[in-house]
């Protein structure tokens, strides 16, 4: 569905995307994860024909994004980081216009708009002017617009930003259902680690315009961080009987691919406490870059954990 080679975008003084090679097969759900300014949106904007690559190439839905823009546009849906719906318009009108833009006739566009209004729970607000909607309602309307022509490939740029937990869960469910029912290929960007973790079977970590890791969330965590088993003993002598790991007084920390199993094995040494810490994607990011993905945490997360 997507195949990029050395995809690069240079803005005046910033290399926003720096040689990305990415292949996405039909039916995959891929999450692009990275901090602010990593180049996620710029990558999506190139893949969706909005901006031409400075160098390198990309084929999307079978067509080159720079030379066959129209063919690409006909086959993809895009929900950008901003507000797709015009603020002076009514939600339902925008949905119908959007359907018409993809060549649906008015009755078909109307019917499709009704379906989406229903399935995204927009019934009460669809006839209101968009500027009067709450951020989350607007976001759902944007998503409905991106789905109007049931595209085979859907790009979502931070779809759940601004949604409350319930609506975020609804949206995730909607995306997963879309994929289950129609086999839609989905590429989304997110800041929410739990979202990437729970939805995507493939996470592409981007930093400074480069792909620094690309794997399943489980593999990423196992490969780059691993589980940590923390054993507490009642004396230093007891702690010293643990063959490996780092000892700090009566506490021993061991890294392992399979924390629970190791913990079970070491239980025979008679620790007074056992803790298994599973890594998060943030730990992966921290290991790979030395920085945390979370904007709200100034200090590296593990330091806080161990304090």
């Amino acid at each position: 569905m997507i195949e990029t080679r050395e995809l690069t975008k240079q803005f005046k003084d910033v290399r926003a995307v720096d040689g990305i090679d990415l292949t996405v097969a039909r039916g995959e759900l891929v999450a692009l994860l990275g901090p602010n300014g990593a180049g996620k949106s710029t990558t999506l904007r190139m893949l969706t024909t909005l901006i031409p690559p400075t160098s390198g190439s990309a084929r999307v839905a079978g067509f080159d994004v720079a030379r066959k823009q129209r063919e690409v546009r006909l086959r993809i849906g895009y929900i950008g980081q901003g507000n797709g719906a015009g603020h002076s318009q009514r939600g339902r009108d925008e949905l119908i216009s959007q359907g018409r833009a993809y060549g649906l006739r008015v009755p078909a566009a109307r019917k499709r708009a009704d379906e989406l209004i229903d399935s995204l729970g927009l019934g009460e607000v669809a006839n209101r002017t968009v500027s009067t909607l709450s951020g989350g309602q607007r976001r759902r309307l944007d998503i409905a617009m991106g789905l109007i022509h049931a595209p085979e490939l859907l790009f979502l740029d931070e779809p759940s930003t601004g949604l409350d937990p319930q609506n975020r869960a609804n949206l995730q469910e909607h995306i997963l259902r879309l994929r289950a029912e129609h086999g839609t290929t989905i590429v989304l960007t997110t800041h929410y680690l739990d979202e990437a973790d729970s939805m995507a079977e493939r996470v592409v970590v981007i930093d400074h315009g480069r792909i620094i890791a690309d794997d399943t969330p489980q593999q990423l965590k196992a490969k780059h961080v691993g589980d940590r088993v923390i054993l507490g003993f009642d004396s230093e002598q007891a702690a010293a009987r643990v063959p490996d790991g780092t000892r700090d007084g009566t506490v021993v920390r061991i890294t392992s691919d399979d924390g629970p199993r190791l913990a079970a094995r070491l239980a025979s040494l008679g620790p007074v406490s056992i803790e298994v810490v599973r890594p998060t994607l943030d730990d992966v990011f921290l290991t790979l870059t030395g920085r945390s993905l979370r904007e709200d945490v100034a200090a590296p997360a593990p330091a806080l954990l161990e304090a």
Binding site: L50, L74, G80, G82, H87
Partner: protein, 245 residues
């Protein structure tokens, strides 16, 4: 299948919808021209003052409305809905032409309203000429609208640029076209500037046509000026839209 024509229709009707849903917006943007009408017309000497003044005010309200219309696009560029339209298969020229064509609708509504307000005060309408006048004005306001959208596209990262240019050009265009005061007795340089202002010819044509004088050189000059502005606007506008991202 879609074509440039159907695409243009989609964009046109999308643009029109907020106007239809909220017709007061048209009346709102007319407050200023009506003020000018109410405050200036009584100052003009003679019986025929309304006959002279009203066609100019109709052009003025078209100028105000169409030159500001780019701000809607600017807003949509900032919020992200322009971007969403760019990802659809809508042809780029349609994104501009549909928007520019829509300018005709508020222009017509305003012309009808202004005439309706003035008839009780003794304005005499010559329907045939007036319709021809509005046709010419339609070309002019399509061009103005397209230029305003071009300006919006050029100002996407610098909003002040849009308003600075629009405000800077608005009153010179208006005054140099002799809408509020006749320029016949002005100094030579003023008259020279007036002659290179296309709006002058449009205003003169409207004055002749609204008074029922159809077969005059004013009609022809106004038509040529309107077509030129329309063609220029669409040309630069479509080019700017094709480069939009």
């Amino acid at each position: 299948m879609t074509s440039l024509l159907t695409d243009t229709r989609v964009v046109f009707s999308r643009e029109l919808r907020p106007v239809v849903r909220d017709p007061f917006s048209v009346i709102f943007s007319m407050v200023q021209p009506l003020f000018f009408l109410g405050l200036f017309a009584p100052l003009l000497p003679g019986d025929g003052s309304l006959q002279w003044f009203v066609p100019g005010i109709i052009v003025m309200s078209c100028l105000f409305g169409s030159s500001m219309t780019g701000s809607n696009l600017l807003f949509e560029i900032q919020t992200g809905s322009h971007e969403r339209m760019l990802v659809t298969p809508l042809r780029r020229p349609a994104l501009l032409i549909g928007r520019a064509l829509k300018e005709i609708v508020p222009m017509l509504a305003q012309a009808v309203l202004i005439v309706a307000v003035c008839i009780p005060f003794g304005f005499r309408l010559h329907l045939g000429g007036a319709l021809l006048g509005l046709l010419i004005l339609a070309g002019f306001c399509i061009g103005l609208g397209a230029l305003s959208y071009t300006l919006a596209l050029a100002s996407k990262n610098t909003e002040w640029l849009f308003w600075t240019v629009q405000q800077t050009l608005l009153f010179p265009l208006l005054l140099l076209a002799g809408v509020l005061l006749p320029l016949d007795d002005g100094p030579g340089w003023l008259q020279a500037l007036s002659k290179i202002n296309p709006m002058t010819y449009v205003v003169n044509a409207e004055r002749a046509l609204f008074n029922g004088e159809v077969l005059t050189r004013h009609t022809l000059a106004g038509l040529v000026a309107a077509v030129l502005v329309g063609a220029l606007g669409l040309f630069v506008g479509v080019r700017a839209m094709q480069r939009s991202d």
